[in-house]
């Protein structure tokens, strides 16, 4: 697990199982920012990410007594957060299909920059955020879990419910897709990124 030693983690799990509130503070401090970052970039909305984050922590509290003594908190929390996002997304897709006809007559685009894109310090960061946001969520989530949240390949595979080999393949495709998206972005928006060539498809 990234950020917390295994022995510390086992002790934290043991205390959580006993309902020790101070252990919750330690887990919260260790994972809250990483979980929130993962959820904001996955959902591309701060308000949604905040709700999903709160629900993730509530699930931990609810299941604290039933955690296995050898539970690895990182994969456990990211798995819950991801499941919550998937459920949220499924519900949103249903809602979107109902309101699709209304959106079609909306006078302007509903696509908005992601919260990260809006505050990104540099042009390069802004481009990466934009390219990341444009990826399909299955590609985005593996990049976020491995490169941003710092999970190992096997932990990320566990979170996504796939084999480590499948994760490696998915990660490889996601990297390529991100590189392509960056190239396309560089082609449409001139200077600043010297190293990135023009989009081959254009």
């Amino acid at each position: 697990m990234t950020g917390v030693e295994r022995e510390t983690e086992l002790a934290l799990v043991a205390r959580l199982r006993q309902g020790d509130a101070d252990s919750f503070d330690d887990v919260y401090a260790a994972f809250n920012t990483r979980l929130f970052t993962f959820l904001v970039r996955l959902s591309r909305r701060r308000d949604v990410a905040e709700d999903l984050l709160e629900e993730t922590w509530l699930r931990l509290v609810k299941h604290a007594r039933r955690l296995r003594p050898d539970t690895r908190l990182g994969p456990w929390l990211f798995t819950v957060a991801r499941h919550l996002y998937v459920s949220f997304n499924r519900a949103r897709v249903l809602e979107d299909s109902v309101s699709a006809s209304l959106i079609a007559i909306w006078p302007f685009s509903l696509e908005q920059p992601s919260p990260f894109e809006a505050v990104a310090a540099s042009e390069l960061e802004r481009r990466i955020e934009r390219a990341l946001a444009a990826l399909p969520s299955t590609s985005r989530e593996v990049l976020l879990l491995v490169a941003v949240a710092g999970l190992s390949h096997s932990d990320a595979a566990e979170v996504c419910g796939i084999t480590p080999e499948a994760l490696r393949q998915r990660l490889h495709r996601a990297r390529e897709a991100l590189a392509n998206a960056l190239e396309c972005d560089a082609a449409t928006e001139p200077p600043a990124l010297g190293g990135i060539a023009s989009c081959p498809s254009r």
Binding site: D25, N32, R65, E125, I128, R175, A179, G195
Partner: protein
């Protein structure tokens, strides 16, 4: 370009939850954890002896009934 790309991703800024919601979530989860723990420990203190007592009474009643039945069968046979 994939390794530099992964490095760039790793260096992206983290999202910080504003202090107010962060504290609200932390406090409410803490309080719930304490409540759950109190309820769980309270329930073991209250109900465990009751269950044990019930099992003991039923077991004793069954045993006494079996002995009475055995004696009656023995006496009339």
């Amino acid at each position: 370009m994939s390794e530099p790309l992964m490095r760039l991703l790793a260096e992206l800024p983290a999202a910080e939850l504003e202090p107010e919601p962060a504290e609200r979530i932390r406090r409410s989860c803490r309080a719930r954890l304490v409540r759950h723990a109190a309820r769980a420990s309270g329930s073991t203190i209250t109900f465990t002896p009751v269950w044990r007592l019930l099992v003991a009474v039923l077991g004793a009643a069954y045993l006494i009934g079996a002995i009475i039945e055995a004696v009656r069968v023995y006496r009339f046979s």
